[in-house]
């Protein structure tokens, strides 16, 4: 019996490539730059805390600057909207807005957003005062387990902020980087279309 000693190691490089089918149009809506990994290289413990602005409020965070923004949002600020899905920038469950653009908070170092404006799902709206997109997801009943929905709404909100009247292909293209396992895709697309249709009368909502 061969003796195969394996050392623990990080097996996975962050995913840069996404799988596309033949017909997938280019990711022109706003690219996939939310998937890039942003870490600060230095490891020594810093002496100064990072200050971040989340949903319009400033916070001094105690985490190491290299810490993924996701952990800071969830564990220090108790913001449960962004979800841990892969830690690899592959699924989108952790998506937040940074200066209005969708960004994967699981591969974004907290130090990378210092001085920038971070908006989470909670910053879009509340159950009593939902953002039009959140309302559209309710109206279309566009959730099953709902774990991916944070990423779906945040990504779609950024799309609508830039492209208020997206085509169906625009929507599919923009959402292609986010994964849903329950198979709620048809309803998610309908919810985005509904919110876009409603935006004719006014802005889709707050921009990031």
């Amino acid at each position: 019996m061969p003796d195969t000693a394996l050392e623990r190691q990080t097996m996975l490089a962050p995913a840069a490539e996404l799988v596309h089918t033949w017909h997938a149009s280019s990711m022109t809506a706003f690219g996939h730059d939310d998937i890039r990994v942003e870490t600060t290289a230095s490891m020594p413990q810093p002496s100064t805390a990072v200050r971040i602005r989340v949903n319009g409020v400033d916070h001094d965070v105690s985490a190491h600057p290299d810490t993924a923004l996701l952990y800071v949002l969830r564990n220090e600020l108790s913001l449960n909207g962004p979800k841990f899905g892969c830690g690899l920038g592959q699924c989108g469950a952790c998506t937040v807005h940074v200066d209005g653009a969708p960004r994967r908070s699981c591969v974004t170092a907290v130090s990378a957003v210092a001085g920038k404006d971070v908006v989470t799902l909670e910053g879009l709206g509340t159950p009593d005062r939902p953002h039009p997109l959140q309302q559209a997801f309710i109206d279309e009943q566009a959730a099953q387990c709902g774990y991916c929905i944070n990423g779906m709404i945040m990504r779609a909100a950024a799309l609508l902020a830039r492209t208020p009247r997206p085509s169906r292909d625009d929507i599919l293209s923009a959402m292609d980087a986010n994964l849903c396992r329950c198979g709620t895709h048809m309803r998610i697309v309908r919810a985005i279309e509904r919110a876009a249709a409603g935006s004719v009368a006014g802005p889709a909502g707050r921009e990031g």
Partner: protein, 752 residues
């Protein structure tokens, strides 16, 4: 079920101990106030299915709280069950607060599995609500001095018909008190024709919270003093631990403890990112043998491992009929290992201190998880409480139970509440996988255009390896013990829909269990039904083609159940099906070379449950082998429909997930371990690959009992797609997933 007086006492003491968790922690559904909850807890005896007070509590404030053993897995069942209770009790669904899946607070209704929540769990809740209604009417009759026959109930208010001034609310009648009543089963149930809530679309209760970040998933549970744990994983569960160098993490910030028990190795740290970092940094070495077969040899290995067979069903003499057939057909189909692949990797929070353990888990069976956790911790079962807290969709037995074991073991080691969040790699490599299956089919069509012979042989590892009292049925327990429990082979799941519902004069259906295989398998949505239906409904199509018969017509010739025929007719109409014999040379070819085809399949789930017929329209690009499902039509009959929109949501989800499983999904492994440990290694369907439309006919049968809809619509989809690919190209794809390589291979084979 815990019904003895001792368990009542210990349960009360337990709840007192855990008071902070009940009153001070906002785990409970919105709408339950601490006041009514505390009141409820005080009122409850040990949950017993016979006792009305175990199911339902009415507060002085008229609030109705239901204690349900069945849990919300993302399918909307907590809304459907609320509708059932609201209907029988005559209160608005929004007035009902819901406590679910708590091993100390709710009746054990069995695991939330097998599409049984509405069918079985709903029937229990319906009887409880009807009993409560009857009790309230009798109380009101005494107080209002009017016979029950002259009373009516409107949204929780009992009044004398024709005299609205004589009225009492539920709270005024029983608020704060107990019913002290056994569920007789004789309380009158409403006739479906009277339904005002059941059968009407009701918005899912928890969706507003889910779309605003306010819903509490198990991933969001935070307890005072909680720290974070991670398990350091060997290549496989049966690996031998050679060394652990604790000094490799000694200087890392926040590390509380390296925990080692047998080959179980974990780290606990103050902060989550510290635990992640420490788990990566810990230098641990294992030895493991390369025991997994080459993917190409997988199915041969199945055949060599199976030493027994079981005849699932038999009719006539299939062997003789096959032997005497003019043109017998044989085909082999293959299905790979697949993952539940929840978007949120499994997570649990455990608080094990002193002689009490509380575990927050998205398990499908809170009551059933108590025993293995207790055994793992070396504690009596009545000291362990499991509180269901919703997770990411699980689609069966994923890592939810296992991560609870991890958290419990680590919490016991450090004496603090510990949260364990599996990584994506943990989830993909360590969740119990949906079994691969091999099928060998043979059959023939006689001169009369009917199937004269049909044989089915299938090889499968187990579809049911749920946790038992044996702690090694949890990964943590297996690592502690140094081996994984094989457990009892549960063959029933693999045989789900092995036998069709077609009336076949000569059939023999045989299953060959693969008793042990070095990849751990258990229940994935539908169990064996999607795989079996892929083989059966593909083979049905092959017989139809060989005999030159329309695929719908050949099925109709072997069915007499009017409900089966009704869904088939409905989907044919919806899809605009024109009778056809698949003849690829006639199929439409677009200017870009895309070939279009359509395929049909029909399944009655588990042979006695929901009827589902489907038509898939596909585009195939012969040059690349790419398959795109453009449209799926489904007709679905699950008896009485409780929540029509919830049902449609489930059907859509089943269809999309089934397309994903059919076109894309297979677990990759090498000789040592699962290697498809991220979303590139285990791709699932993306938005750019979804159909243009999923057109659904739901057929309501208010006169028929509700059966489940959580799984049924998956089953016909793989074969419908395979049959559509054949219709488009003449190539028969007999192995899932239908990747471009495999489709091109089938195209080459079809031209030989």
């Amino acid at each position: 079920m815990t019904t003895s007086s001792t368990s009542t006492r210990s349960r009360r003491e337990f709840l007192a101990d855990a008071g902070i968790l009940i009153v001070g922690f906002t785990l409970f559904p919105r709408g339950i106030r601490a006041e009514s909850l505390g009141q409820a807890v005080g009122q409850l005896t040990a949950p017993s299915a016979d006792a009305l007070d175990s199911w339902l509590v009415i507060g002085r404030d008229d609030a109705v709280t239901v204690y349900a053993g069945k849990v919300e897995l993302g399918t909307g069942v907590s809304t459907a069950l609320r509708q059932i209770v609201a209907e029988e009790l005559d209160v608005a669904p929004s007035r009902i607060a819901w406590v679910q899946g708590d091993s100390q607070l709710t009746v054990d209704q069995g695991r939330t599995v097998g599409s049984g929540s509405v069918k079985r769990g709903g029937a229990q809740l319906r009887r409880a609500a009807a009993e409560a209604r009857q009790a309230l009417l009798e109380m009101a009759s005494a107080k209002l001095k009017a016979p029950v026959t002259q009373l009516e109930i409107n949204d929780g208010v009992v009044s004398v018909t024709g005299d609205a001034s004589r009225r009492l609310t539920f709270g005024a009648l029983v608020g704060g008190g107990r019913f002290e009543r056994t569920i007789s089963g004789r309380a009158p149930l409403k006739a479906p024709s009277e339904y005002k809530v059941v059968g009407h679309p009701v918005s899912r209760v928890e969706i507003p919270a889910k779309v605003t970040g306010k819903h509490t998933y198990v991933h969001d549970v935070r307890l005072p003093g909680m720290v974070h744990g991670r398990v350091v994983r060997p290549p496989r569960v049966d690996a031998a631990l050679q060394s652990v160098d604790e000094s490799s993490v000694a200087t890392l910030p926040g590390v509380i403890r390296v925990v080692r028990k047998g080959t179980f190795v974990g780290v606990v740290a103050e902060r989550e990112e510290q635990a992640v970092r420490a788990a990566k940094a810990l230098n641990a070495k294992w030895a493991a043998a390369p025991v997994l077969p080459d993917a190409a040899d997988l199915y041969a290995r199945f055949k060599s491992l199976a030493t027994t067979e079981r005849v699932v069903g038999e009719n006539g003499d299939a062997a003789s009929a096959l032997h005497s057939a003019a043109r017998p057909i044989r085909a082999t189909y293959r299905w790979p290992f697949q993952l539940h692949a929840s978007i949120g990797p499994s997570c649990a929070v455990a608080d094990v201190r002193g002689n009490v353990a509380t575990v927050y888990s998205s398990t499908q069976g809170a009551h059933q998880l108590v025993a293995p956790i207790a055994a793992l911790l070396g504690m009596p079962s009545d000291s362990v409480r499991v509180v269901f807290t919703e997770g990411s969709g699980c689609y069966g037995h994923n890592g939810a139970d296992d991560v609870a074991g991890d958290a419990a073991l680590l919490s016991q080691a450090v004496g603090r509440p510990v949260r364990v969040q599996w990584s994506r790699e943990d989830e993909n490599a360590w969740e119990p996988e949906g079994p691969a299956m091999l099928f060998e089919m043979a059959g023939a069509v006689g001169a009369d255009g009917k199937i004269s012979a049909w044989t089915y042989d299938a090889w499968t590892p187990t579809h049911g390896a749920r946790p038992t009292r044996d702690p090694t049925t949890l990964v943590a327990g297996a690592l502690v013990a140094g081996f994984v429990s094989v457990g009892e082979f549960f063959s029933g799941g693999g045989e789900r829909n092995a036998r069709t519902t077609y009336v076949l004069p000569n059939e023999r259906v045989t299953s060959h269990p693969v008793p042990s295989f070095p990849i751990r398998t258990s229940s994935l949505r539908g169990l064996g039904s999607p795989q079996n239906s892929f083989a059966n409904e593909s083979f049905m199509d092959e017989l139809a083609v060989a005999a030159g018969i329309d695929p719908i017509e050949i099925r109709r010739r072997h069915l007499s159940d009017p409900r089966a025929l009704a869904v088939i007719d409905a989907v044919a109409k919806r899809a605009g099906w024109t009778p056809r014999v698949s003849a690829p040379e006639r199929s439409a070819v677009a200017s870009n070379g895309v070939r279009k085809g359509r395929g049909f399949a029909y399944v009655q789930y588990d042979r006695t449950e929901a009827y589902v017929a489907a038509v898939a329209d596909v585009d195939v690009r012969p040059d690349t082998g790419s398959v795109r499902v453009r449209r799926v039509c489904v007709a679905h009959d699950c008896g009485l429909i409780v929540n029509p929109d919830g049902l449609r949501n489930q059907i859509e989800g089943n269809v999309v997930q089934a397309i994903s499983r059919t076109l894309k999904e297979a677990v990759r492994f090498d000789s040592m371990r699962v290697t498809g440990v991220d979303w590139n290694g285990y791709p699932i369907l993306r938005f750019s690959e979804i159909p243009d439309a999923i057109d659904i006919d739901v057929i309501d049968h208010p006169d028929q009992p509700s059966v489940g809809a959580g799984e049924a619509a998956t089953s016909p989809i793989p074969a419908a797609i395979a049959n559509a690919i054949f219709d488009a190209t003449g190539a028969r794809v007999r192995q899932v997933p239908f990747t471009p390589d495999r489709v091109r291979e089938a195209l080459r084979a079809s031209k030989v």
